[in-house]
């Protein structure tokens, strides 16, 4: 037998006809106020273009995301624990209050279904009271944070946020107070009406403010594309990416209206943190502004009044924003979509970008070198050609084939592979996987590169690829899918980690800090493998921002090929952070990170830590093989 913790909840015993009429008018007004704003928003979302190749199934992943991210509030809590828990308390209280509120409104018509004196009613009201206390505490924390602590991510103060916090607090306070007033007094009636008014004022404020996420974000999380930073296919011959309102898909519009303006994206954005124009939050809010003013049928360019082309091309596609977003907004496909719109129509004019595109239109690699340079390297290093008999195709990538430091990484990996007795060969001819042009939005060039490579790999009967470059790995595995079936591919950290026990460690107690490359960590979820390999050569320490919170080196998204950055260099910020750990070695697992830090450390001068790829660290302990 359950004992109630609280006295019975006091509800007014009767309501007069005029009270009922007043409630009906106010409730209708409140619902009308809600719909007047929410109706057009819903209309804009539904009138947007259908998402090409959107499938509701398999639905298991969607249910799991919904339960984990929405019901459990896992993402909200994990990334900002105090504010996250406060938010979760408010959210759970809202869920618990759904029934209470329904009952509350029903009582005026004598239709209340929860009896404050009954066993079920008493249990549920006590249960809700527990959440009401938690919610009131939570909203206080959030209020203090927003109006007193004021982290800059939250943007400008909004009086509406304050009003909403006040209303939520009033809802909880009036509910709790009703446990402590006599059942038949005017107190109960006054509390009932205050509670009701707070509710009816709250409702029309929802679609007007960022609190729209209450309604939309559960759908946004449930309907998201699912793959991390997944670039959707183009719909048809007239689809060139996000050019105008007519290109906004239902998912993009839904996401634009779901933004809760928490600024986590901005807090983690390497561009925003180094003085660039790009702010992922403003990109999303820009689309919202566009939809509000022009709507989804407009031919007005998306890069114009609300979003700047400059900002779209400052993104390193590191995905920190998308990874952090608690309401399921997929920033990378949006930003890449805007780039596609600009590049596929020729609207983007950039000398460095054009140079990269022309180098890949006319040649094989992003560095603009002659392919004979690769042949020379392959010959000089004695790399066997892949002939279909070997297990692995060692994919060199542009950096591994042409960049001096990239080549050193390949040579080190080859030493380890030979030591392990792995059979491998390199392609006679490789073209860039298309990673930089894919992220910069050049679909024409990407398709050409992907198709040429897929054909060459199929001809050579390649089954398994291992590569030193996380960008190559990602592009081969995920992005090439649009044009064929790529072979199995893995990053050398995964290969090396599998054989880590067979590799001789060295005991020199060197302190190594491992930098998680975006395309290996967030994109591929590989965090432990490279650490296991790096640990062969010393003791690991962690940078303040590591694993899924790792801070980009600045190279991704094709940016390594573009001109000088505005503001501080991303690479310098990250290099300084890595150096500040006191480690004598910075371990990398991506040739692009490597080249960025090499330049950053060179600019710093003496005293910089040594820069080593994990393949080089693994090769350190090998006996000399001559």
């Amino acid at each position: 037998m359950m004992t109630a913790f609280l006295p019975n909840l006091a509800e007014p015993q009767y309501f007069s006809g005029s009270e009922r009429a007043l409630f009906a008018v106010l409730a209708a007004g409140s619902l009308f106020g809600f719909w007047r704003r929410f109706g057009p928003i819903l209309g804009k979302i539904l009138q947007s273009k259908k998402d090409p190749e959107f499938h509701l199934f398999p639905i298991g992943r969607r249910v799991r995301d919904f339960v984990w991210e929405v019901m459990c509030q896992a993402k909200v809590i994990r990334e900002r624990s105090l504010a996250g828990v406060a938010h979760a308390l408010v959210f759970w209280a809202f869920c618990a209050f759904a029934l209470v509120t329904l009952n509350h409104c029903a009582t005026i018509f004598g239709l209340g279904f929860l009896d404050p004196a009954g066993r079920v009613g008493r249990f549920y009201f006590d249960f809700a009271a527990f959440f009401a206390v938690a919610c009131a505490a939570g909203i206080l924390v959030l209020f203090v944070r927003r109006f007193i602590a004021r982290p800059k991510w939250l943007g400008e103060l909004s009086w509406e946020s304050g009003l909403i916090a006040l209303l939520i607090f009033a809802l909880m306070a009036t509910y709790l107070a009703a446990f402590f007033v006599p059942e038949a007094g005017t107190g109960a009636r006054a509390l009932w009406w205050t509670h009701t008014l707070a509710l009816l004022i709250f409702l029309p404020l929802i679609p007007h403010t960022k609190h729209l996420h209450l309604v939309l974000s559960p759908f946004t999380v449930f309907l998201s594309r699912g793959g991390f930073a997944e670039i959707p296919p183009l719909a048809d011959d007239e689809d060139f990416g996000l050019v105008a309102g007519t290109d906004l898909t239902q998912l993009v519009s839904l996401q634009a209206y779901s933004c809760v303006e928490c600024g986590r994206c901005m807090e983690h954005c390497p561009a925003n943190n180094t003085g660039k124009l790009l702010n992922p939050k403003e990109i999303v809010l820009g689309l919202r502004g566009y939809l509000n003013e022009f709507g989804p049928a407009s031919e007005e360019p998306l890069l114009g009044k609300y979003n700047a082309q400059e900002a779209a091309f400052e993104c390193t596609t590191c995905g920190a924003c998308e990874f952090q977003c608690p309401v399921g907004i997929e920033h990378v496909p949006i930003i890449v979509g805007l780039r596609r719109g600009a590049v596929n129509t020729g609207a983007w004019e950039d000398d460095h970008g054009a140079k990269l595109f022309l180098a890949l239109e006319r040649g094989s690699n992003a560095l603009g070198m002659s392919a004979t340079e690769r042949d020379k390297f392959v010959e000089k290093s004695g790399l066997p050609l892949f002939d279909g008999t070997q297990e692995y195709c060692l994919w060199l990538g542009c950096m591994g084939a042409y960049d001096p430091r990239g080549r050193e990484i390949v040579v080190a990996l080859v030493r380890v592979m030979r030591y392990l007795g792995a059979s491998f060969g390199v392609m006679r001819k490789e073209r860039c996987t298309g990673d930089p042009v894919r992220r910069l939005g050049n679909d024409l060039l990407f398709q050409q590169l992907a198709e040429a490579n897929l054909e060459a790999l199929a001809q050579n009967r390649v089954k398994k690829i291992v590569s030193i470059c996380p960008h190559c790995v990602r592009t081969i595995q995920e992005d090439w899918k649009a044009y064929g079936t790529p072979p199995e591919v893995e990053h050398h950290s995964e290969f090396l980690a599998r054989f880590a026990l067979q590799l001789p460690p060295i005991q020199n107690q060197e302190k190594i800090v491992f930098h998680d490359p975006c395309y290996l960590g967030r994109y591929r979820g590989v965090y432990e493998e490279p650490r296991r390999v790096a640990a062969l050569a010393g003791d690991l320490v962690e940078a303040p921002r590591s694993h899924e919170r790792s801070f980009c080196c600045g190279a991704g998204g094709g940016l390594v090929f573009l001109g000088e950055e505005k503001g501080e260099r991303v690479s310098h910020v990250r290099a300084a952070e890595l150096a500040a750990t006191g480690a004598s070695v910075v371990g990398t697992a991506c040739p692009f990170c490597n080249t960025m830090f090499r330049d950053a450390f060179a600019a710093k001068g003496d005293g910089a830590p040594e820069l080593m790829d994990i393949a080089q660290l693994a090769a350190r302990g090998l006996p000399d093989m001559k």
């Binding site: 183009l234 129509t345 020729g346 239109e361 006319r362 002659s370 024409l444 060039l445």
Partner: protein, 258 residues
Amino acid sequence: MKIIVAIKQVPERDAQVRIAANGKWIDEADLQWAMNEPDAYALEEALLLKESGGACGEVIVVSAGPERVGSTIREALAKGADRAIQILCDDLNGRDALGVARLLAAAIKPENPDLVLTGLQSEDLGLGQTGVIVAELLGLPHATMILHVEKTESGLKVKRELEEGWFQSIELPTPAVLTVQSGGNKLRYATLMGIKRAKTKDLRTVNAAELGAEGTPAVVLDQIAAPKKQKSTQILPGSAKEAAAALVEKLKTEARVL
């Protein structure tokens, strides 16, 4: 202004070129092809002239060669050319510069263009003659090694590249033929939209035989060979001063770079 751009398809810059069994040309199997770079600059110049001249201009691309040339023509259409003429012939390499120029001139003549642009030379053979012979066959004035073209009231003002960093600015009437040097402008990249739009553009094909431009070649390609690799190192003896003097002498007389 009606501008015709003559373009050639050549092996891609990164192509691993092998000499064919008969030693007379390269083995074309497995080769990737691209637009001859100076021709790409000629096309860019044509597009810029058209864009600066308002809506009335037209850029027509003409190219001779086998079926495969179509891909390079489509690239030119994608970059902004309005229509194209493809002269089908499987024996382009058997023709000398005069033979190729006859084909091009025969295709160009009925169009009565205001301007004919082409690259100053091809990246494969590098003869540098085709453009000027076309001018001769069409009876038009020509200028070579053009970096920049400007439309004037009476005709054209062009910037030519001379030796050792010198430039020459000349004026000539239209119609005219210009052979364009690489590097005068920045090339535009091909776009998805351009490629899609190019599908609906007019691409007319004519057989070489229909042009009535046949003739016996005056020059016949006898044999091609890969360059011999050679690297020689000389150690200059003596004191630093003597070695420096000897180096300067060698740079002047042997390397001829000073």
